[in-house]
């Protein structure tokens, strides 16, 4: 039979071009700048500087602390919401879910501006509480990204599991702790992935509320603003490696979970 000139492989073509142009190429550029000096010679000084420079390491630790706070608060807020939405007896639970996810549809600069006004009203001067404001803004921004994967994981959880737990004598808290929580780990992991990494880098939110807090994103921004492509790039590359490492670890956990 004559092969058609158009088969399924060709359908991947547009995205393939996109991938080369906007993902692979910039990545290579970042790596190139990260491992060269100002004259364009191959060099590891930027890489070494990252780990020896007090400023970058300090920012890294601070970003981690903020990200941990934001993630944990998101998880604590999102879990009950996702559970009630997924397991409650609502006729239109997807509409209810929309109510929680709807803020994502509003332009985020608009949302943050509104939040800024509210915080100013409460605190007077935003500069007094940089850490608290950072956490509040990020939680506000990222919460839907935590709710969605948790909701999906909890919807998939068979209701008879919960009933079986009760049937065997477990009270509601015992069922939550021993059955629902362990079985929703995949959702928790993907929720964390969705929130933790942006929380380390998304400095635009902070800029908008005149926040002086310095996170990894701000650091990269400041290097680039000073036309220091090399040092900015190496930080981006190292963060990327962190992300890669994190993804590999969670992937390992997930496959172990499924086995």
């Amino acid at each position: 039979m004559k092969r058609s000139w158009f088969d399924r492989k060709q359908l991947a073509f547009p995205y393939f071009i996109y991938l080369i142009l906007f993902v692979v190429m910039p990545l290579l550029v970042v790596l190139y700048y990260g491992f060269t000096d100002e004259e364009g010679n191959i060099s590891f000084t930027n890489f070494v500087l990252f780990f020896t420079n007090g400023r970058t390491m300090g920012t890294l630790v601070y970003s981690l602390v903020i990200a941990v706070f934001v993630t944990v608060i998101c998880l604590i807020l999102a879990y009950p919401v996702a559970y009630i939405l997924a397991k409650g007896r609502y006729a239109r639970r997807h509409s209810f879910l929309m109510v929680f996810v709807l803020p994502m549809w509003i332009n985020f600069t608009l949302r943050i501006t509104a939040l800024k006004e509210i915080l100013t009203l409460i605190e007077g001067n935003l500069a007094y509480y940089p850490f608290v404001n950072t956490v509040i803004c990020m939680v506000y921004d990222f919460l839907p990204f935590m709710i969605m994967p948790l909701f999906n994981a909890l919807t998939k959880l068979d209701k008879s599991m919960i009933e079986a737990g009760h049937d065997l004598g477990a009270t509601f808290p015992q069922v939550m702790l021993k059955i629902v929580l362990p079985l929703s780990i995949p959702g928790i992991v993907s929720g964390i992935t969705m929130v933790f990494l942006p929380a380390m880098t998304n400095y635009v939110v902070l800029d908008m509320v005149y926040n002086s807090t310095y996170i990894m994103g701000s650091l990269i921004g400041s290097y680039f603003n000073a036309y220091d492509w090399n040092n900015g790039s190496i930080i981006s590359a190292i963060l990327l490696m962190f992300i890669g490492l994190f993804t590999i670890i969670t992937d390992k956990i997930m496959t172990k979970e499924e086995a």
Binding site: D158, S160, M161, E163, A164, G165, H166, D167, L168, G169, A170, T171, Q174, K178, I179, P182, L183, E257, A259
Partner: protein, 487 residues
Amino acid sequence: MAEAKTIIRLNNVSKSYDGKTNVIEDLSLDINEGEFVTLLGPSGCGKTTILRMIGGFDKPTAGEILLDDSDISMLAPNERPVNTVFQKYALFPHLNVYDNIAFGLKLKQIPKGEIDKKVSDVLELVDLEGFEKRSITTLSGGQQQRIAIARAVVNEPRVLLLDESLSALDYKMRKEMQLELKNMHKRLGITFIFVTHDQEEALTMSDKIVVIADGKVQQVGTPEEIYNEPANVFVADFIGESNIFNGVMTGKMKASFAGAQFECVDDYENGKKIEAVIRPEDVSVVKPGEGQLTGEVTSADFKGTFYITFVQCGQYEMEVHCLSHYKPGTTVGLHILPDDIHIIPYDMTINNYEGVIDGFSDGRGLYLVFRDFAFFVDAHKLFPDSRVSKGKLVDENGTAIDYQGKKVVAFFSPEYAEMSDDDKAGDVVGKIVSFYYIGDHYSYTIRTDSEIDYVVDDEDLWNQGDKVSVLIPKAKMKFRIKEEEEA
């Protein structure tokens, strides 16, 4: 024999999920200690709801459920001495076999040594010694089934509930588990309440069968009683194969049906309208002219141990299970012993109609064709778990449902139907052939030209012989798929 002690008693229990229609209506039932009781009925009859109310997962809207004479209807599932084996087992995938079985025991804070002993004992009971460390996902369906049973019985419940627990197993495995469950019941001595829609399963395993349809108990009895002495046409039709004929009593222990006279052993008043139930295996084929009926064989299908033979006797068709093969076209006589004819007084309140599904349209539903009328009906009424995918009707797993040509039995309660003297107002037109007064309304039987009766309740007085049209309450109709003979 000592008087059996009642362990579970349902007193006038009703359950409604939407506050309008009752899934269970005013149901009362006693279950004795140590019995193997099966709740049997077609899907959607409410049997699982009853089980869930005993287990505590659903609370009755009205009535009470007693365990040892104390009301448990509002207790949470974890406060009842009852354990359940779920339909899809509901084993915890994140725990291994040991932790699954020990789940209930650990919550009771039983010492570790004792738990170990109990787990290994119960694994021996279900024939899976040494499986403690195995992961749930590596087990076969049959093994998971056994672990689910082990997880429930290890808690030594007073009552074990089994919700269609064998339906996920293949045919051979199911047969094996049926016998094993029965043995387990004997050894453990606890009360088993088993839910199934499989009449064969119910007959094999139970001490007592409760036949349920439409949220009501139709009959309670031993498997033999249910099979040999069905209380009504529904039970006769649902349990085993049956030939059912309308007829009348023509004298003392004499009945007329299927165009012939029969001697029988049930005594009802002369002239009473009856239905005669005859099991296909109770009909013997004799030489033409020697039996009560004579007819022509229309088909004979081999079924391993017997032939399913259909004999046309005038306008009546009789199903016969016989050991010899009769070629279609052969003229035979049929003989039925008086003892094998079961007479049921005709139930004037039931409107049952057999039709077929003829097509499906997304948006309008399944097209049902009955003798006198045809209409579209919501597919969920026939296939509760179905959904529409790409314009096709599929089941919960996404496979297309083979609905075309399926036989359907539709039923409506006379109270919902309406009568009109305008021929065009109703769905079918007929003459009032009989009516009688019951309490607060008249019950009319309207017979159409195709000799089908419709029973309609109406408050006004009409005359016998009046030509009326009947408005069939399609929204209130209940449907049941008539299963093909088992292959």
